[in-house]
């Protein structure tokens, strides 16, 4: 209940902010210098989901984000386990991977991985057809490189999650005859997930926005869609404002999804079985007070 209410409050607040933003934009139209007039027609026309090519571009953003994040999580699990392995070469490989991909800009990785690797004839990034969809080389490169980059960040998040699980859990699993793989997949990772999922949500929020960099590969995703439009009509204020609102919409929807997932994964951590106010469903004020309480005593 309290969770639902807080969603309500949050969306109301959000709608309010957007309204203010539009008013400001409107005012800019009236008082702007050098004869700038905010063009409501163009703004709404190009904000509309029915405007030519927009939904396709948003679709590209979402699909690339989901696939890249999925690759990132899988690579992150391997890199985290590699970093914690007893076998030195595994540790070295994992550390090297994390070092390189966290130490260089993702923009450079994209350019190098697509143009550089392509020019060196190491990998051609040819278009492929999967389930009847043609996937261009640019999009493949984008998904793979963003995924590899993300894996380096996920590794640390997943490692922290695994370390947060009581070592007694591993011992109990071992004592029942479970192998390392079973212990990890059945006992440790499901418990680590509770710790991993909030920062994973942040990472995916970032990923939705980072995909805008794919415009350097010529992929027409949300940002590039609006970039092309403003290049044609010379109205960057209207176009990029619309672009920002679309990203805001995507990250906001993700926020709701994330909250749902977090509740799902807090299984077995709430004290009452009635599914009531678990620690995760408390509002900010309540949590803040809970944090403060021991200090006041």
């Amino acid at each position: 209940m309290s969770a639902l209410r807080s969603y309500g409050i949050r969306s109301a607040r959000l709608a309010g902010c957007l309204f203010v933003l539009l008013i400001v934009a409107g005012c800019a139209g009236k008082t702007g210098r050098a004869g700038f007039n905010f063009d409501w027609n163009v703004f709404f026309q190009d904000l509309s989901p029915f405007s030519q090519g927009l939904l396709g571009a948003v679709y590209v953003t979402v699909v690339v984000s989901v696939l890249s994040q999925a690759i990132g999580v899988v690579l992150g699990i391997f890199a985290a386990l590699g970093k914690m392995a007893k076998f030195l070469p595994f540790r070295t490989i994992a550390n090297l991977y994390i070092w390189i991909f966290r130490g260089t800009p993702v923009l450079v990785q994209l350019a190098f991985g697509f143009y550089g690797v392509g020019a060196a004839h190491l990998w051609g990034w040819d278009a492929i057809t999967l389930f009847g969809f043609k996937i261009t080389g640019e999009i493949q490169a984008g998904i793979v490189i963003l995924g590899i980059n993300e894996g380096a960040y996920m590794a640390e998040i997943i490692r922290a999650g695994i370390l947060a699980v009581d070592p007694g859990q591993t011992e109990a699993a071992k004592s029942l005859g479970m192998t390392y793989g079973q212990t990890m997949s059945r006992i440790v990772l499901p418990q680590a997930a509770r710790v991993i999922i909030p920062p994973l949500g942040n990472e995916f929020n970032n990923m939705l926005k980072t995909t805008s960099l794919l415009f350097v590969l010529g992929v027409i995703e949300t940002y590039n869609h609006y970039n092309i439009a403003q290049g044609q009509n010379f109205q960057p204020f209207e176009e990029f404002l619309g672009c920002a609102l679309w990203y805001l919409l995507m990250t906001t929807i993700w926020g709701f999804v994330q909250a749902r997932i977090e509740r799902r994964f807090s299984r077995g951590t709430e004290l009452s079985s009635g599914g009531g106010a678990g620690p995760r469903n408390k509002g900010f004020a309540e949590r803040f007070m809970a944090l403060r309480a021991p200090i006041e005593q």
Binding site: Q169, A172, K174, S175, M178, T179, I187, R267, G268, S273
Partner: protein, 274 residues
């Protein structure tokens, strides 16, 4: 009290047979934590259907010893056999040195050895029943329906049939420990290790856990119990082993160890806790 136990065993036709029936055979086990020598040439034999209680002051190595029995701890020298299998290691061709066994083989050996921990270590993301059927399904490959049937029977046996859908954090310590015992039994182990199973419990919950353990002993389970519960040791143990400073100081029937200990260190320890 041991007489009573033998009568019960006789009634169910489980009188211990002679020495061929050695389940645990630990020979000259040495264990170091860094420079600290925590187990010094420890030898211990446990026969089938025997209950051995290990007592001794904290830091004496009793917990470390039973953790070595299912290879949760490595040993530096000596041999531990369970049902005739060398635990955790392979011998080199010259039989002089030990090489740690493959992880898969160790996992296989552990299936035969149940362990109950001081802090329960139930899986918090699974219900009581899921905790119990997890290993039978995923380790033994038991059919789901069959596992559930067995899990319910075990819950019944530890007196928690009504709690099958409950998560561990909604259970009391005593209930959690009883589920943990049921979870270990679900693998049908040949040997049960109890690592201070009542030390983390509130006093009023100790009884219910000991009751389940007594029942198990009566049914003829082979058990090694590290415990400070002298009443339990007196009543249930076939043998009491006194450890101090990594050494087995004394062992014998409970009445002998408790009433007329031969070693000074045993006397000193007992006088402190009794």
């Amino acid at each position: 009290m041991t007489n009573v136990r033998h009568d019960l065993l006789g009634a169910i036709g489980g009188v211990p047979r002679p020495d061929v029936d050695v389940v645990v055979d630990a020979r000259d086990v040495n264990k170091y934590f860094g420079r600290l020598h925590v187990l010094k040439d420890v030898c211990l034999q446990v026969r089938r259907q025997e209950t051995v209680v290990i007592i001794g002051p904290s830091g004496s190595g009793k917990t470390t010893f039973i953790r070595c029995v299912n290879h949760l701890e490595k040993i530096q020298s000596g041999r531990i056999f369970v049902n005739g299998h060398l635990i955790g290691y392979r011998e080199t061709a010259d039989r002089m040195t030990l090489v740690e066994d493959k992880e898969k083989n160790i996992a296989l050996q552990r299936q035969e050895i149940g362990m109950v921990f001081q802090r329960f270590n139930l899986f918090p993301h699974m219900t009581a029943l899921e905790n119990i059927i997890e290993a039978p399904i995923h380790v033994r490959g038991m059919a789901h329906d069959q596992a559930i049937g067995m899990g319910r029977a075990l819950l019944e046996r530890v007196g928690l049939a009504a709690k099958e859908m409950v998560y561990p954090n909604q259970l009391s310590g005593g209930q959690q420990q009883r589920i943990a015992i049921a979870r270990a039994l679900a693998m049908r182990p040949a040997l049960m290790l109890f690592d201070e199973p009542t030390s983390a419990l509130d006093p009023e919950m100790i009884g219910e856990v000991l009751e389940v353990m007594k029942e198990l002993a009566r049914e003829g389970m082979t058990m090694i119990v590290v415990s400070h519960e002298m009443g339990f040791a007196r009543e249930v143990a076939n043998r009491v082993v006194m450890m101090d400073d990594g050494v087995v100081v004394e062992e014998g029937a409970p009445e002998q160890v408790f009433s007329s200990p031969t070693q000074e260190r045993t006397k000193a320890f007992l006088s402190k806790i009794l």
